[in-house]
Amino acid sequence: MAATVAGCGLGAGPAPGGVQLTVTRDFGARVLGRASAPKVQGAETVMSLLLRNDKVITKYGGGFVESIEGLSGGQETGGDPLDWFYYVNGLEAPKGAAATNVHAGDHVWWDLHDWSQTDDIPAVVGSFPEPFLNGVEGKRLPVRVECAQAQSEPCRTVLARLRALGVPAAVAGIGSGAEPDALQVVVGSWTAVHGDPSVQSIERGPRASGVYARFAASGQTLTLFDASGQATDTLSAGAGLIAATKDVESAVVWVVTGTDEAGVARAARALDTSALRDRFALAVTATGAQLPVPGASG
């Protein structure tokens, strides 16, 4: 009620500053447009921000996006469904674009992708340092880094990266319990972290977690999938993964993990704006190569 009243008034309302707008396709593989200072005029919704800055065709009275820059949803040549999805600060919004307000510092990301495996990807890593820096719906949330070993190099690297960006983060042990109003970063090898209920969905594959990668039960291998759910690569020793997910009870959970300690260390070092930009998730091989997840078909 208070939020509703707060949003009322005459005129366009105060304009949010520091907003970014990115438009990509195929899970961020191709950038169609990127505006670090998009046109903003008064209080904007995600939809109005997009309409103001791109050529957009909408349907249902402006509630849904039909096409952006001439690219519309529908079906791919293979028959897989294709549609536009949006993320604010790396989180899938629970409401329509016309119902979601843009707040100061928000990173709005539209992506046209195949949703044959899942139409529910609750969180992505490609807006880093969001959501840690500006939070969710204009509200900055506390950040808790849960490490398998608090003094390990990967844990210290992750903390240092976050703090360098101005994100105050607390450290806790694995399995400290999910908090609905906190952002969690879980750091450790998959064998050490897979018991945490908030990351267990990753073991069940893309349909359950929205992450197109899956660890084997032993935690020794990491299989990467493409958009249609086909395995594209299987990484073993020294492989790492940075992914984000969200279950019903918890807030967003990022996981910096690997098949072993070396893989976790590689993943922690990849926690960087340029490495994560426009990625839904990121895998790192034993040679240090960074692979976008989901991977390219074929």
């Binding site: 939020a3 509703t4 009243v5 707060a6 949003g7 009322c8 008034g9 005459l10 005129g11 366009a12 309302g13 005029q41 008064g42 209080a43 919704t45 939809m47 109005s48 309409l51 103001r52 957009v56 909408t58 009275g61 402006g62 509630g63 409401k95 329509g96 016309a98 119902a99 979601t100 307000n101």
Partner: protein
Amino acid sequence: MRNTGLLFYRRLASPLHATRAGVGAVWALALTAAALILYNPLSLGALALAVLGAGVGAGVGRQLAGTLRTALIVGLPIVAINVLASREGLTVFARLGDLGPFGQGNLTVEAVVYGAVIALKVTLLMLITTLASLAVDPDELLRSFRRLSFRSALTASLATRMIPVLGADARRLAEAQRTRPEDPSRGVRGRVALLSAIVGGSLERAMEVAATLELRGFAVAAEGKHRPWRSRSRRSSSRLSRLRRSPSEVRVKRPWSRHDLAFTCSALTVIALALAGRMTGAASFAAYPLLKMQIDGGTWMLCAALIAAMLLPFIDRRGIDR
């Protein structure tokens, strides 16, 4: 006769009334098409102005003014609903906050303008329909469809003739109801009683009309048309058909009058102008996401041409019965 509030055709001394019904109907259809083709508010306004002018020229301006008042009542909710429902505009003038499933209640200038354009289109359609129903002879129009489907034309003709009769019935019954001491005409019960009496009366009238038609041999003629022995009875059937018609109804090939030609030209010109306006961009208009409306010399010329094309046939009043 007291005005029943219903709009029905009466022969008046005007060029549109003097035009054959088919041409009048085509002219009205051309105006309807133009109203649907055009979106530019200026050209729609010109069209509305011209329709009102045509109403004055046809001697039915007062009735059109009544329709205009009704259209305003219809138009305001259209604008209000569009403002509340549309999320495509970008120029926010008021914010109602989060409306739950309806999204953020950001009211935009574009939604107001688009709603007004739709309301203007609805107004135009109502005005054109009123003008056509007042100035185009429905019997003559239906007669032209007789060859295609005799029964349908007859049914439609009878139905249109029954509307004023039922209106008069309703008025008479309501007056009779009011004469009763407790005045039962007020309230829902009184209205339901009146409605049921009118419906009952209409069924009774329908039976009377059916009996009359049967007596006049309409059923025989209609059946004979489709039967294989038609050739044998053609002579008697055509004699019966001729007998059935009054002398004024006997079909005589009527030459095209100057009014027929003028209104045909007007209809073609209006359609051509509307299409040209859309194709050349002289009447271009986009409400969303930001208002884009063409207003230049071409737009003004289009508006002037539309008004002239619609009103010029009303200037020639020679040969009109008074």
